[in-house]
């Protein structure tokens, strides 16, 4: 595998211009969706088969009664332990040499198991193609050294793309700087490769707790319990089987054979 590529989104630099959201739509030729009132400036409310990049607009009440305006450009996390990839029964979802996770549109048969296996609600089903869709980090662009469209379009370098190890160093320095400036809650989300899901290849610098951004605090790989579930099912099968065995072995009593 080549050196892992990653995306670092520093939300403290985001100005909410949505250039990333538009660039993503245009480069990936994603169709329009009818906007809906979400109660904030945010549109759309969720990721979809036509929205891979989404700027979240969050108003957080501060102790003094004011509102803090938190902006966060959200995207597929390209998890090191990816639930969608583990769920895929056709092999359509694969990991590239850069560590990103893609869906092969010619192989996907639209079973939608990946949709329910994403801890972040990213993967979406497209009814026109009958397949699952999500961000690819602009696979065509990164294979030609261009970097994803969103990162290219970002005017404040809130979205940075590059080698994961280099971005990590940058990100950690930035947290220290922000903390020194008084942003006490400044923290990285998904950066730690020993943390949840083996680390996210799209990681974030947040100015508040993950929950404020509607991010799961401790996302888990959905498939982590498949053995336990199977063993419990086998247990249930043994009980049911023994019951049937008992019923069919008993004879003559309580209306057995002659009933």
């Amino acid at each position: 595998m080549a050196r892992t590529l990653a995306m670092f989104t520093d939300t403290s630099l985001c100005i909410g211009c949505r250039a990333c959201q538009v660039a993503c739509k245009q480069w990936n030729e994603l169709g329009m969706e009818v906007p809906e009132w979400t109660g904030t400036y945010q549109n759309h409310e969720h990721f979809s088969d036509k929205t891979f990049r989404l700027v979240r607009f969050i108003e957080e009440p501060k102790p003094n009664g004011d509102l803090a305006w938190l902006l966060m450009s959200d995207v597929c996390k390209h998890c090191a332990q990816a639930g969608c990839l583990d769920a895929c029964p056709t092999g359509a979802i694969y990991r590239t040499e850069f560590g990103t996770v893609n869906i092969n549109q010619n192989t996907c048969n639209g079973c939608r198991y990946c949709v329910s296996s994403c801890p972040f609600g990213v993967v979406s089903f497209n009814h026109d193609t009958g397949t699952a869709k999500k961000c690819t980090f602009c696979d065509d662009r990164i294979h030609n050294g261009l970097g994803p469209a969103c990162a290219k379009a970002c005017p404040t370098e809130s979205i940075q793309f590059g080698f994961r190890d280099e971005l990590m160093t940058k990100a950690q320095k930035r947290v220290e700087t922000l903390k020194a400036m008084g942003f006490k809650e400044a923290q990285l989300y998904g950066a730690d490769q020993n943390g949840f899901l083996g680390g996210l290849n799209a990681f974030f610098l947040l100015l508040s707790k993950p929950g404020t951004y509607n991010l799961p605090v401790d996302p888990k790989l959905p498939q982590r319990n498949v053995m336990v579930d199977s063993l419990l099912s086998i247990g249930s099968a043994v009980l049911v089987g023994l019951g049937a065995l008992l019923a069919f072995r008993e004879r003559g009593r309580n209306g057995g054979d002659h009933a």
Binding site: G91, L232, S233, A244
Partner: protein, 271 residues
């Protein structure tokens, strides 16, 4: 923030019919191998019932895909630890066993029946698999209702057993009732196990059970599954196990409950 896969009525029906197919088959195999000579007819009914059901299951699964013709793509991969992949394969293998057992059931020669017993003994493991993997499949998603108890597979299996046995008993009733008693008794055991597993399931889910125990699906869950699907048929069996029409009614209620279980589990968080 989490997304649901939009597995709606076709998948509800698939889970329901697949459960009956698996349950009827392993009941047949147990009756065939461990019952008396008079239970052979019960076994025949179970095997023959599983075949059209598993065929319907295959069609439902393929029809629900976004690109149905690409169902073959599931056959290019075998992922043992992935319920969707292993389940697709198991459904195919189970169909094969169901077919062979059904063909052998058409002959009355002793050799064929001896082979039928042996085939059933192996095939029943795929029956158990088909009856439970759908639950394990749900419990390995990111959705709390499906995944936070570890018992969805165990629950689906017990329900598959009770519905499979109910379906077999209903057919035996229509055919005149011979051999009904043992199937009904096995069904009672399965329902008792199902009630225990369901209680543990709800307890382990805790607040994640909200979508089914409260709100618009609660009535269906408590009345349709717990009442009509489990408690009333058990009561009917207790009071009227010598009155065959009551037993048949109980079997119908059990089948209704089996459908309601899968309907509520799938639709409550997707509707």
């Amino acid at each position: 923030m989490l997304k649901t896969p939009d597995w709606e009525l076709m998948i509800v029906l698939y889970f329901f019919l697949g459960g009956i197919a698996g349950g009827a088959y392993f009941t047949a195999a147990i009756a065939d191998n461990f019952g008396s000579a008079r239970d052979r007819r019960t076994a025949t009914v179970g095997y023959l019932l599983s075949l059209p059901l598993v065929a319907a299951c295959g069609l439902l699964l393929v029809a629900d895909l976004g690109v149905p013709l690409r169902f073959l793509n599931m056959m290019r991969v075998f992922k043992f630890s992935d319920p969707m992949s292993a389940g697709a394969w198991a459904l195919g293998v189970f169909g094969l066993f169901s077919f062979v057992s059904s063909v052998l059931s058409l002959s009355s020669s002793e050799t064929a029946l001896a082979w039928r017993r042996r085939v059933g003994l192996v095939g029943m493991f795929f029956g158990f698999f088909l009856a439970s993997y759908t639950g394990v499949l749900l419990s390995n998603t990111a959705l709390p209702l499906w995944s936070q108890s570890r018992l969805m597979g165990a629950l689906f299996l017990a329900s598959a057993a009770s519905t499979g046995m109910a379906a077999v008993s209903l057919i035996l009733f229509i055919m005149g009732g011979e051999g009904l008693g043992k199937v009904k008794r096995a069904d009672r055991y399965s329902m008792l196990i199902e009630i225990v597993v369901l209680a543990a399931f709800l307890a382990l889910l805790g607040s994640a059970a909200q979508p089914i125990v409260r709100g618009q699906f609660a009535t269906l869950f408590w009345v349709g599954l717990v009442g009509v699907g489990l408690l009333i048929p058990l009561l009917l069996d207790l009071v009227g196990h010598r009155v065959k029409p009551l037993g048949a009614l109980a079997a119908l209620l059990v089948l209704t409950g089996g459908f309601v279980l899968r309907y509520v589990v799938l639709m409550s968080i997707q509707a």
